[in-house]
């Protein structure tokens, strides 16, 4: 099966002609995204995410290496017919209202004339902009503009959605709506390439993550594997008998008093032993579960140390 997105050794260098400087934006970046996957594209600001997306969309060429989208060259109109794109900070023609803007994009997307009205009405409803369609976009809030950007991306019923920070500027309710929309699109089998800084969101939606930093790929893999169980377990007990304290110290366990009881974090292989010791000492074990890495932990581990904020 042809991957929906393929980067093979892509390198991009920005040249500042006057200063005679060369700034590498991407260095031999290779990854692929299969059809039907929802892939997170992560990295700190300036990591090369927007440059990668620009190359994918055919806005600028790679200096070396090859990029393919839906099996075609980036910028090929046959590929663009099947792509929906949400740019970072969606820009719009201020003199248009939402309806006119969607009609304009629908005409460019080749939506048949008779389908434009029902399609735009449906999308405006989907992004909760019904009732505001005749208001000039210049008067929209940032969140409304972003939702309109998502609506225009969905106009041509795309097979692949490339989204650059689609939830930036949205309030929690708006973010949830976009997230639900993405779940619905995922259920429809759409491929989604999502660049976002909201890791908790990405963790919920995506099947796969690609992490880049300073123009280099630092990790690529299925979300399941990236968030594989860690090496620690967490036990919540109603109390901690004093006789167990030396043993816990020996294991290097972390003990924390919480309103719900005592939280003890121990190496994963000690979890059963600890539970038995607690029960034997007359304490009650309320919960016991292995600790998983969060995407944020992994991200900070891979990227955070190199990019002090």
């Amino acid at each position: 099966m042809t991957p929906a997105i393929e980067f093979d050794g892509v390198t991009k260098v920005y040249r500042r002609r006057l200063a005679g400087q060369e700034v590498p934006a991407l260095t031999h970046v290779s990854f692929s995204v299969n059809e039907g996957e929802v892939c997170a594209f992560l990295g700190p600001n300036g990591a090369g995410k927007t440059t990668s997306i620009s190359i994918l969309m055919g806005f600028q060429p790679a200096d070396w290496g090859q990029a393919r989208v839906l099996g075609l060259e980036p910028g090929d109109v046959r590929a663009k017919k099947k792509i929906g794109f949400v740019p970072e900070n969606f820009a719009f023609y201020k003199h248009l209202n939402a309806l006119k803007l969607l009609q304009f994009h629908a005409a460019l997307a080749g939506v048949p004339k008779e389908s434009i009205a029902p399609r735009t009405a449906d999308l405006l409803n989907k992004v909760k902009l019904t009732g505001y369609e005749k208001l000039k976009i210049g008067k929209y809030s940032r969140g409304m503009v972003q939702r309109l950007g998502i609506a225009q991306a969905l106009l041509g019923d795309p097979q692949l959605l490339i989204m650059d920070e689609p939830t930036s500027g949205l309030d929690p309710a708006g973010r949830k709506e976009v997230r639900d929309l993405m779940f619905a699109l995922k259920a429809e089998g759409k491929t989604i390439f999502l660049s976002s800084h909201i890791l908790s969101e990405v963790e919920q939606i995506c099947d796969k993550a690609i992490i880049i930093n300073r123009g280099r790929l630092v990790r690529e893999g299925a979300m399941q594997n990236l968030l594989a169980s860690g090496d620690k377990a967490e036990v919540l007990a109603d109390r901690l008998p004093a006789e167990l304290e030396p043993q816990l110290q020996e294991w290097g366990a972390a003990v924390e008093q919480t309103p719900h009881g005592v939280r003890i974090t121990v190496p994963l292989e000690r979890k059963r032993e600890l539970a038995e010791l607690l029960w034997a000492a007359g304490a009650d074990v309320i919960s016991l579960h292995p600790l998983k890495n969060s995407l944020e932990d992994l991200y900070m581990q891979l990227v955070g140390s190199e990019n002090p904020s």
């Binding site: 794109f85 719009f92 304009f104 460019l108 041509g156």
Partner: protein, 268 residues
């Protein structure tokens, strides 16, 4: 469909462009100011010295027409440079180019949008010409289509030139260069006076050959309200001259497309 959509959207953007609105108001004020001496001269004609007053009226009419026609060239250059630059600056180009639109289609659509604006301008210029002729008490000795087609071809050259330049430089610089080219063209146009300096004559001839001739493409060749005896121009002459102008515009437009094809698209 794509070209039409982009062209009409570009035209719609122009009609709401604050800079263009301000320039249009200033231009109208300028015209209004020019009307004052014209109407004054017209009034004088009724008070005696009719021949002198009539000559003055025709002179002012002629100046207004030249002013209007020249302003059109600047407007075409500015509109063309601005139409592409604004899309880059605001980032709207990204959403448009994410659509199944080829780069040449985008640029050609923009060009047609500029030409829609210039057609509107020419229509107003056309009405103004007849109005001024009426005030001057003379008739325009020219076929109406000449007053439309010749300026349209001339403006298309300036628009295409500005469009080609704006793909590689700042819009203001592109507009400045286009204006400079327009001035150079005026300077190298052959006049009745002989050029004595051989070097200057040589440069002038070369530049005249390279740049499109405003003299040839000027509707003023045919627009005369002073002299009824116009030189007859055959259809072949008209066709050749217009083809010459269109060829210039086409070459410049192709250059713009070629340059735009490899341009990195990003928010400036």
């Amino acid at each position: 469909m794509i070209l039409r959509t982009i062209a009409f959207n570009t035209f719609g953007t122009f009609l709401r462009d604050k800079i263009l609105i301000v320039v249009a108001i200033l231009f109208t004020c300028g015209l209004g100011l020019m009307m004052t001496p014209l109407l004054g001269a017209k009034a004088m004609a009724g008070m005696g010295n009719v021949a002198q007053a009539q000559a003055l009226v025709l002179e002012i009419v002629s100046i207004i027409l030249i002013f209007t026609s020249g302003f059109g060239s600047l407007l075409a250059a500015w509109a063309a440079a601005d139409s592409v630059a604004t899309e880059m600056k605001s980032g709207t180009i990204l959403a448009v180019m994410a659509r199944p639109v080829k780069r040449w289609q985008f640029l050609l659509g923009k060009f047609f949008g500029v030409m829609l604006l210039m057609s509107t301008y020419i229509a107003m210029m056309f009405v103004l010409s007849y109005l001024l002729a009426l005030i001057g008490g003379e008739k325009i000795h020219s076929a109406p289509w000449v007053l439309v087609l010749y300026p349209l071809v001339r403006y298309s050259i300036y628009a295409a030139l500005a469009m080609a330049l704006v793909t590689v430089m700042h819009p203001f610089v592109a507009w400045g260069i286009t204006t400079g080219v327009a001035l150079v063209i005026l300077m190298v146009e052959p006049t009745g006076r002989p050029v004595t300096n051989v070097g200057w004559r040589w440069i002038k001839n070369i530049v005249y050959t390279i740049l499109p001739s405003s003299g040839l493409l000027s509707e003023e060749r045919f627009l005369t309200i002073k002299d009824a005896s116009l030189k007859h121009t055959s259809w072949l002459d008209h066709a050749t001259t217009l083809a010459y102008g269109l060829d210039y515009a086409l070459v410049l437009l192709l250059l713009a497309m070629w340059s735009f094809h490899s341009k990195s698209l990003r928010r400036d």
